[in-house]
Amino acid sequence: MEQTIKYYQTGTFTVGNRLLAEDQRTVQADMHRTNSLNSGHRACQGCGEALGARYAIDAAMRATGNKLICVNATGCLEVFSTPYPETSWQVPWIHSLFGNAAAVASGIAAAQRALGREDVRVIAQGGDGGTTDIGFGCLSGMFERNDDVLYICYDNEAYMNTGVQRSSATPPAARTATTPAVGPVPGNVFGTGKNVPLIAMAHRIPYVATASVSNLRDLEAKVTHAMSIRGARYIHIFVPCPLGWGSASEETILIARLAVESGLFPLFEAHHGKVTARGRIRRQVPVTEYLKRQKRFAHLFGNVPDLARIAQLQQMADQNIVDFRLTEDDPPPAPSQGRGNDVSLPLGGGPGRGST
């Protein structure tokens, strides 16, 4: 995943580094990057999804020599990028319905196969609503058929485009329009939601990974790796939403980083259903550092702080740290090839679910 380069001021943490050779810099550092999602889009100030989409698609464009077709589910990303007659996409791009992005992508992949165009690759992308709820059936089908598609979910943990309604990726305690911060248990209830990366792993598809807009190099490496593999692949990218989360627009990347560093959003890779690599926490922080910067969790920090629920959220993070060995130094064993039966899924944890 990340290369260790010693003796450099910023090592590989920054987007670029003038002391590194060109080929060791990120795609985003390139003066001639594709800018697949171009300026003029109507995403909010500090939009994590706009950033994550450009990171991912630019990396995929480089990996495929710009021979890429993107399918988009309905959602913020689709709406803010393509108000008729304008488009921000500098890549062949198609939108059909909210729930069928994976199916449309499967069809395009089949068409390319029929045409004998092995060089043209397909990406389907959507938000968490279009992925974990509405498009879930099509997604699971794409996985079980092992269609040659990379599906990317930009997870901002609710239906932001329609006004911040809860999705199955909304974390416990978060306030949304449909889980208001009222009553004895304000915000989203604990014990609900689903963890799609783990569900994708259960399909034993060739590649599943989580990524964050705070870890650009890691994100690009995962997209690049995914494009080197054939078959169904899934990458789940954590993208803060300043509007829906009630966070400051300038803190988008900071908040994404705190989610990773607290353990709430574990970074990992899995091949054929088995975790093969995970991102090590560099500077561990308590979950409160992450939560307190977002108004959707403000009710936890009122005059009487809701210590019990904060502790439950911390428990989720701690469980992730244990399950994914996020603070350990030793590298996990090399990825096993083929769809074997040696699958060990971490129980619980992961994004979007808390214990009851």
Partner: protein
């Protein structure tokens, strides 16, 4: 046919038509803030600026930026007490950058490779006299010469260097290094007259037709304290001892040497005594370690070499040849030492007084308009004395009396002398806001511990005058340079270019930094938050 991306068939409108810059209430601006190291440097070096070049391995460019402000990097890298490192923001992260050791590496590299200073572009036709070839005089001469003036240094002693030669022992500053850096300044065309004591400054200036003069005669007269002593007592002063070290006949200090005082000079004498064969070198100091004016690194090295220190003690009297009476002191509520009446005796072959130095102001006799206070010459903010055209700096004006302060005085005075000669006033550019630690996003910096310079093994260093602190080699110097956080100054990490959700940052290419595309910048401020070094500032849009 339009140049369309792969598989695009229809002409579509681009979102570039939608100028999202109109949403903005705050706009980002690239700024250059003042790095705390630069801010703290008494010589006014652009430290971040030269480290930037050293980071990429371009040592000559680094050395050239460095020598804009200070022509003596190899000396500075040995004798400066590096206030820069004390203020270094990296100190709050892990350890301060070893700026001083990189400086020394650059200085040594310049000597090894024979790099030359940049000669003046044109001659001004003005003649300036510099009195004293110490750090301040050399610095002024260098800067004045670069501005095209004809410069003559008159030095009373037999060699150039001043206190760098006659006050700082060889084990801290080898003489070949000193000679090399002095010679490089002379190579610019600066005239140096040795054994040329200026008796009366007004007469010399008139007789030789100098348009202006910079005085930097230093402080060479050891202060005495009244200590009742017998005829036979051997009492020396520290400055004379250190000066004699430069001559043929080394000073005779004996086997038990007591040094009285708590400054760097006291430590220099005690460490010198050890090297001359003294079994005991004891420093008697009237206050505590915390109050000691000597620098911690030098104290540490002295203690390692076996120098003993009697804290809270004064010398009351010397009886016979060899017996000192020492009185214990205690600090009062205000922190001043007060006598306790408790005494002890100490055997000593010699007593060296290191109680500070006075300035020989003889050359100023008959100069009108001067103000002398506390034995030093008063100067204005432009380093000019009360007599127009007569400037002064270094140890002879109120100052901290270090080599680096002296170099800074020389540079500052040279700029004002240059302006004065042209009938103008030198106005320094306004200083940028300091890039304090809270302006940084330290997440992006790789963890890297400091490279500590190797020191001579103890046994070897207490018996020889070999240099104690050795330099960095190229790899470690490069490592150390790359620990710089580049506080407040863009180092082209591409973060702003990468993290903008709106592609509203334009990368201009290596060395050219970036520009904001205000047509599309929505003013979210992610670039400011994610800039590692604090080189972006959000400012409110005017309505």
């Amino acid at each position: 046919m339009m140049d369309k991306p792969f598989a695009i068939t229809l002409d579509v409108g681009s979102s570039l038509a939608n100028k999202t810059g109109a949403w903005r209430t705050k706009r980002p601006q690239y700024v250059d803030r003042l790095p705390p190291c630069n801010h703290a440097c008494p010589a006014g070096e652009n430290i971040q600026g030269w480290l930037f070049h050293a980071e990429s391995g371009d040592y000559e460019a680094a050395w050239r930026v460095l020598t804009e402000d200070n022509p003596l990097p190899a000396i500075m890298g040995r004798v400066c007490y590096h206030p820069c490192a004390t203020k270094c923001n990296r100190g709050e992260l892990d350890e301060a950058v070893g700026i001083n050791s990189v400086e020394r590496f650059l200085g040594d590299e310049a000597i090894r490779r024979g790099w030359k200073l940049t000669p003046p572009k044109a001659e001004s036709g003005k003649k300036v006299l510099v009195v004293g070839a110490g750090p301040s005089g050399l610095s002024a001469a260098y800067q004045l010469r670069r501005l095209g003036h004809e410069v003559t240094i008159m030095e009373a002693g037999p060699f150039a260097g001043g206190m760098m030669r006659f006050g700082i022992p060889k084990y801290r500053l080898p003489r070949d290094v000193l000679d090399a850096e002095v010679q490089r300044i002379l190579d610019l065309g600066v005239k140096l007259e040795l054994n040329a004591k200026v008796e009366r400054i007004e007469e010399t200036m008139k007789a030789r037709g100098f348009d202006a003069a910079f005085l930097a005669v230093g402080a060479h007269i050891g202060k005495r304290a009244y200590i009742p002593a017998g005829e036979a007592a051997r009492i020396l002063d520290a400055v004379s001892v250190l000066r004699d070290m430069e001559g043929e006949a080394k000073p005779m200090l004996g086997r038990r040497v007591v040094v009285y005082g708590g400054g760097n000079t006291a430590l220099d004498v005690a460490r010198t005594a050890k090297r001359l064969g003294a079994t005991d070198a004891i420093i008697v100091y009237r206050r505590t370690r915390e109050k000691m004016p000597a620098h911690e690194s030098e104290l540490q090295e002295a203690l390692e070499e076996g120098v003993l220190i009697k804290w809270l003690s004064t010398i009351k009297s010397v009886s016979g040849e060899a017996t000192l009476t020492v009185e214990k002191m205690k600090l009062d509520e205000k922190g001043f030492p007060q006598p306790t009446g408790e005494t002890e005796t100490l055997e000593a072959d010699s007593l060296v007084l290191a109680l500070g130095q006075d300035v020989d102001l003889g050359l100023l006799e008959g100069v009108a308009g001067l103000e002398i206070k506390d034995g030093v010459v008063q100067v204005g903010p432009n380093m000019m004395t009360g007599r127009a055209g007569l400037f002064a700096g270094g140890d002879m004006v109120p100052s901290e009396r270090t080599v680096t302060v002296g170099v800074g005085h020389g540079k500052k005075a040279a700029r004002h002398i240059d302006a004065w000669l042209r009938g103008a006033a030198y106005a320094a550019l306004p200083k940028h806001e300091v890039a304090s630690f809270d302006k940084l996003n330290t997440w992006y910096y790789a963890d890297a511990p400091k490279t500590v310079r190797p020191q001579l093994e103890l046994a070897r260093r207490t018996s020889t005058f070999d240099e104690v602190v050795q330099g960095l080699d190229e790899t470690t110097a490069l490592f150390e340079a790359r620990r710089c956080l580049s506080c407040g100054n863009c180092f082209e990490c591409d973060n702003c270019y990468g993290v903008c959700p709106d592609n509203a940052v334009i990368k201009l290419g290596p060395g050219k930094r970036f520009e904001f595309n205000l047509d599309y910048c929505k003013g979210c401020g992610v670039c400011e938050t994610e800039c590692p070094c604090g080189a972006i500032k959000m400012v409110p849009e005017e309505t």
